[in-house]
Amino acid sequence: MKQHFVHKKISSIQFGLFSPAHVKKMAAAKIVTPELYDREGYPVDGGLMDLRLGVIDPGLVCKTDGLKLKESLGHFGYIELARPVIHINFVRQILDLLRCTDPHTGELLIPPALIKTHLEKIEQKGQEGFEERRRFIKAIVRKIAAKNKNITGDKVEKIKLEKPYNYYEGDRRLSPIEIRAWLEKVSDEDVKLFGFGDNIRPEWMVLTVLAIPPVTMRPSITLESGERSEDDLTHKLGDIVRINQRLFENINAGAPEVIIEDLWDLLQYHVTTFFNNAVAQLPPARHRGGQVLKTLANRIKSKEGRIRYNLAGKRTDFSARTVISPDPLIGLNEVGVPEKIAMNLTVPERITSWNKEYLLNYVKNGPKQYPGANYILKPDGRRKVISNETKDEILEELEEGYIVERHLIDGDISLFNRQPSLHRMSMMCHLVRVLPGKTFRLNPSVCNPYNADFDGDEMNLHLPQTEEARAEAKILMLVETQLISPRYGLSVVGCIHDGITGNYLLTKELVLAKNEAVDLLFNCGVTDFSSLPKKDKLDGKEVFSMLLPRDFDFIGKDRGGNAVKITKGMLKSGLMDKANLGEESGLLLRNVFEKYGPSATADILGKISRLGTTVLARRGFTVGIGDMDLSTETHQEIRDAINKAEENVKKLIIQFSEGKLEALPGRTIQETLELKILEVLNRSRNKSGDIAMRQVRESNALTMAKCGSRGNSLNIAQMTAIVGQQALRGKRIEKGFSGRTLSYFKKNDLSPKARGFIRNNFKSGLAPNEFFFGAMTGRDALMDTALRTPKSGYLYRRLSNAMQDLKVDYDGSVRDAAGKVVQFAYGEDNLDVSKTTGGSLDIQKIVHQVVGEVK
């Protein structure tokens, strides 16, 4: 049972132009009739569905290679055109050649002596591209050739192009026959000078034979009624063959020139729309129903075209998609997979003498019982479905070398992804955890890299099917290997919400009885209590320290600016808040990662997060409207502050109306006034916010804002004290009716109230006009987002397209696909951002360690 694999690799692709001879040589059939099928529904010989062009019907065999449906790739055919036609995509190139060469001799309009002097420059321009080169030659010709004269001084008419494809020499129309004859005269050297490839002749741009694409490329669909519906390309080709046939007959019958010309034009039209059905100045060819035909160019172009849709993007099997929901109790690198999905997706496993028993169990369970297996693969590559009927037979048959496609089990390697996949952390490797339910479960801490929430988001799961793929996924893509963002060198995964609040409260104020603490820690996965201080009452900091490695040292700061100090795995001072545990900051995590590596970090992070949530669950944590209460004195204080600000604004307005306001440099007086008012109002808002923050009672909402788990002081200030000025495009609100924002105000009222200043807070409720202003800015923000997304998406697409093939070479330089050096050392210091601390090496820490150590 020896297998031989021959892996062929495409090393290059040659682009070129078919000569008529080549088209004929390559063709399997000459197409002569527009009929497709005979009365029995069998393809006609010499028709467009000729069996020599490939098969699209089951049961038939390709006459050229003898292969069946889906095996035969199909073959080209050709038709002989009665009269040559211009290929629409080469119209410009033909025009340039005609303009730069002599009509009689086909010589280039630059004297041979002068060509030499320009040659170097032409070559140089040629580096910038084919079109640049042509443009440059055209410019030289225009400069050198005396107007309307060729080299020898004879008169030359100017060649004009009447779009889309009619050429005129002066007033005389050039037929494609003449153009072809002209182009034939152009010498090989001149053609080459224009940048044409070796053995490519310009006259091939005028078609005398047309290659017919294989039927496999334009399959017909059989409708339910048994009727056949042909592909758009076949329709178009049918038109071409029909007109070509008529043209032949008319020429042979010696029909008048006018009729022939008309048919010729029609042929030109059909051939043109066959290539491109969206040519300007040309009505697109349509179906009988008026629907525009999709021809060759349309198939290739655009996002839905062949290149971007089918070639650069691929579809995949072994994937699943469903709604996501949170589960803080599963690991950071796990994904909860519903049993239903686990029984549908499979992992292939080859039977060996060591795992035979184990795999047979899956087969015994069959496809309906978890954990079972759905298929087996025989060594000859044939696939068999496991069902109750076939099960016994298969069990009998199985031996080493067979592959069993078994259900997903815990620990299988999968890729988890959420769109839009904006960065590499949008697709990470998770280990499968089969769970009851119907949603994918993920640890809330990994929401940030995916940018996921649980308001109905769906995510995709993929299962790598080969060992290589699994190995790469596990080593390179596992969640813990992606903890540090390559964007800024800090952790993207961290504790969130309760994970932070819980630890904050724990390290700040909680004191636990020993049995409580042990219970709590055990719940979070701690099993070694040997280092627990021998006391009856444990400090929250001591409890937290149990999660840290014994030899961990760390010096940092918390959000309050206090020093966080950890020596030998004991939290000595400081609080655990967002600065240390959170995502996108998480310096503590960053240090753990550096010292203990990915998997230990994931483990510790998981435990810390669980500790936080468990602490909160036991202590209780709730937010209510009472959290927003302020004393009456504070209310008065805030009101005074706002009144004072409004007073100031009034003064400003008076100054303005009296013309006493001095304009700031580069601004009009109106602008100055607006800026000053905005400044005053914003200052008053900040001031009231401060007052409120000072006076608001110690509450859970405030705790959250303080430790950074949710909300900030602005949110609290807006709820308790004052919402503040609503700004539209960086200014106060001024749109709406003429001279006023709402008909409720007097015209030209510049007071804060009339221009979107909300002096109420969310708790007391907004006045109707204030609410309306809030809605205005809210809508503006929505619009901004809606407009921004496509813009930034396009920028991203351009960036990634331009930079996708830059890589670090073995010598440390950054090079593009062609080997051109872009940077001699990546980032000038060869550092990988995802391996640094915030973009640089943490030397401070080393210095501290060393100097501290020796002391």
Binding site: I10, I13, A297, L799, L841, V850
Partner: protein, 379 residues
């Protein structure tokens, strides 16, 4: 520096920037073996943090800039402080830079002055007025046409003239070359033009009026607005409109720090390396103002590919993408038909060395783990 020599020994093992950082951070009390240990530890850390060969740094950079793009504001203008001028920021500015637009929305310069002058606000203000391009129109209080005498009379703002330090004579001097065929005379805050020789149509006076309106009287071309501002402990001049080459020639200007936000101008005046730095600075400014966190290395790489050819090239189908070696890579971006048609005429060969082509062919991409190949002898 105390241990400079010792640190210098490691020049081959560490990048200069890292060494500098070490010397800055080492406390003076550190002993020789301590310094040695610090440097050696750093080398270890550095080795761990080096990029691996085959790392697709380009894509990582593109992701790092593209991903936070959705978080940037679309608000075009931004006032840095109350008194400063409008500057394009946010996503529009980023797009403008990466497009390498020839004409940008808000061209701007920051003009730094040499040492003694930059501390004195009065001197800086004077300098600012000096460089501001003043056109005739600003100085004219009233245009009058005397139909009988066929003369055009300009009444001037006397105070403004004094502010700018201009006299009627100065105006006449710069006007005379532009008004051939007219007799120009001045006096008492007025300038009058009469046609030489025979009186022609009145219309011509109107044309003359429109013509001389925009004639520059003083200052530097294109600089439409100036604003002295405080930056740190010195005063600088912000200008809207840029003209680097002329401003740099002024003796008061500190040419080492003065810059423009117009990439093409920087390229023309200061060269391609300066342009590269300008791209980096400009992008960085926007990112900072948006409160985003993107490592310089990513911006550096973008700046580098925009400038490798020696000219500033935008990340557009006409710029960088058009220079790719692979036909299929170009075709997969934009305008595929054009690229395929040209490739066929040229007889181009696609060597399949970059990413998309290999995706299309279903082959391993030559990046990361797809890069190394193994050669083995078949038995």
């Amino acid at each position: 520096m105390k241990h400079a020599d010792l640190i210098k020994e490691y020049e081959k093992d560490l990048p200069l920037a890292v060494l500098d950082e070490i010397s800055a951070l080492i406390p003076t009390s550190a002993t020789k073996p301590q310094v040695k240990k610090i440097v050696e530890e750093t080398i270890l850390l550095y080795k761990q943090a080096r990029v691996h060969a085959g790392e697709c740094v380009g894509l990582v950079s593109a992701e790092s800039i593209g991903e936070p793009g959705t978080q940037m504001t679309l608000n075009t203008f931004h006032f840095a402080g109350v008194a400063e001028m409008n500057i394009t920021t946010g996503l529009p500015r980023i797009i403008e830079i990466f497009d390498a637009r020839k004409t940008i929305k808000t061209p701007m310069m920051e003009v730094f002055l040499k040492a003694p002058n930059n501390k004195d606000i009065e001197k800086v203000r004077q300098f600012a007025l000096q460089i501001k391009a003043t056109i005739l129109d600003e100085l004219v209080a009233e245009y009058a046409i005397n139909i009988f005498d066929q003369t055009l009379i300009l009444r001037l703002h006397k105070e403004l003239m004094a502010d700018y330090g201009l006299t009627e004579k100065d105006l006449l001097k710069s006007l005379k070359t532009r008004t051939k065929g007219y007799n120009v005379s001045s006096g008492d805050g007025e300038i009058s033009f009469t046609h030489k020789g025979k009186a022609e149509e009145i219309k011509e006076l109107y044309i003359l009026k429109e013509k001389i309106r925009a004639v520059k009287m003083k200052g530097i071309k294109k600089i439409t607005q100036v604003l002295p501002v405080k930056r740190g402990d010195e005063y600088i001049v912000l200008t809207s409109g840029t003209n680097l080459s002329d401003v740099l020639e002024l003796p008061e200007v500190d040419p080492t720090r003065t810059f423009s936000n117009d990439l093409y101008e920087v390229r023309a005046v200061l060269g391609i390396e300066a342009a590269r730095q300008a791209v980096m600075n400009e992008v960085f400014k926007v990112i900072e103002s948006q409160g985003l966190n993107i490592d310089v290395r990513h911006i550096m790489l973008v700046a580098d590919i925009m400038c490798v050819s020696g000219e500033v090239k935008g990340i557009t189908r006409y710029g960088i993408v058009s220079e790719k070696a692979s036909v299929l890579a170009r075709a997969s971006f934009e305008t595929p038909i054009k690229h395929l048609v040209n490739a066929s005429l040229e007889g181009e060969v696609d060597k399949l060395t970059s990413v998309v082509e290999n995706v299309m062919m279903n082959q391993a991409v030559p990046l990361g783990t797809g890069l190394p190949g193994l050669v083995t002898k078949m038995k």
